[in-house]
């Protein structure tokens, strides 16, 4: 039998989800459109990028995300920018990191919000104009309250 504390906690979760409107979320199509807008239509290669993100995120409000890119980070050959894209959040393009050879290595972390279980994409833009990506599926147990809650 659940304790009183569990019942109150469950009621709180249910209440906060019901009281608020649901918003339209990004779709895989919006994700793909954002991807091609960022790459300017250039081909996107798989590889060189490693997206390190939990396969199961208990709390979609804050998901620790690291992107590492294989690059010598020299003037001649470096990562210019890294983008993170979502296919289920209200917006598809979550963030951009701007890097330079001064970084030494290409490895950046931050906490992102995920509104639902979905594919997350990391897209790296190199100094030679090529684009590389990695994709990971993340199961979100408690979705970020970005669609109300």
């Amino acid at each position: 039998m659940p304790t009183r504390r569990q019942i109150i906690a469950a009621a709180g979760v249910a209440g906060s989800m019901l009281a608020l409107p649901r918003l339209a979320t990004a779709t895989p199509q919006m994700h793909d459109d954002a991807l091609s807008a960022l790459s300017g239509g250039a081909p996107i290669n798989d590889g060189r990028v490693e997206l390190i993100i939990p396969g199961v995120a208990e709390n979609g409000l804050s998901v620790f995300t690291t992107v590492a890119v294989e690059s010598p980070m020299t003037e001649a050959d470096h990562v210019r920018a890294i983008h993170i894209l979502s296919e289920q959040n209200p917006i598809a393009h979550l963030l951009t990191w701007h890097l330079s050879p001064r970084a030494g290595i290409a490895r950046v972390s931050t906490n992102i919000r995920l509104a639902a279980s979905q594919e997350v994409t990391a897209l790296a833009e190199m100094s030679d104009g090529t684009f590389w990506r990695d994709r990971r599926h993340v199961v979100v147990t408690i979705a970020a309250c970005i669609d109300g809650g």
């Binding site: 209200p90 963030l95 701007h98 290595i105 972390s109």
Partner: protein
């Protein structure tokens, strides 16, 4: 009104050429604009939009943020120690409020 003070963690000293890890944490609600308050009023979007870092006057790192970044944004990144100098970290939100942190990195040969 200026933004709340941020915290930056990085070594005070590094060898020339060493890659230094820098961690920055800013207190900010990163309000998405999708939520409503208890009265049913929509809570306006309020987010940090830009984070920039310069080292010895040269921009070394930047980030464009959206409501897809968690509250109290945490950012970890790196820089190669070149010479002793000041690192300036700047956060700017969508209301034009700024916060700045300055740290000195001493580079030993």
């Amino acid at each position: 009104m200026a933004l709340a003070a941020a915290r930056v963690s990085m070594p005070a000293e590094a060898r020339a050429g060493e890659v230094v890890e820098i961690k920055a944490l800013m207190r900010h609600p990163m309000e998405t604009g999708y939520q409503v308050d208890a009265m049913g009023e929509s809570i306006p979007r309020h987010i940090i939009e830009r984070f920039t870092v310069s080292y010895d006057g040269e921009r070394i790192f930047g980030m464009d943020l959206t409501q897809g970044v968690a509250a109290n944004p945490f950012i970890a990144f790196t820089t190669r120690a070149t010479r002793s100098g000041e690192l300036v970290f700047t956060w700017e939100d969508d209301r034009g409020e700024l916060s700045e942190v300055r740290k000195t990195l001493t580079v030993v040969p």
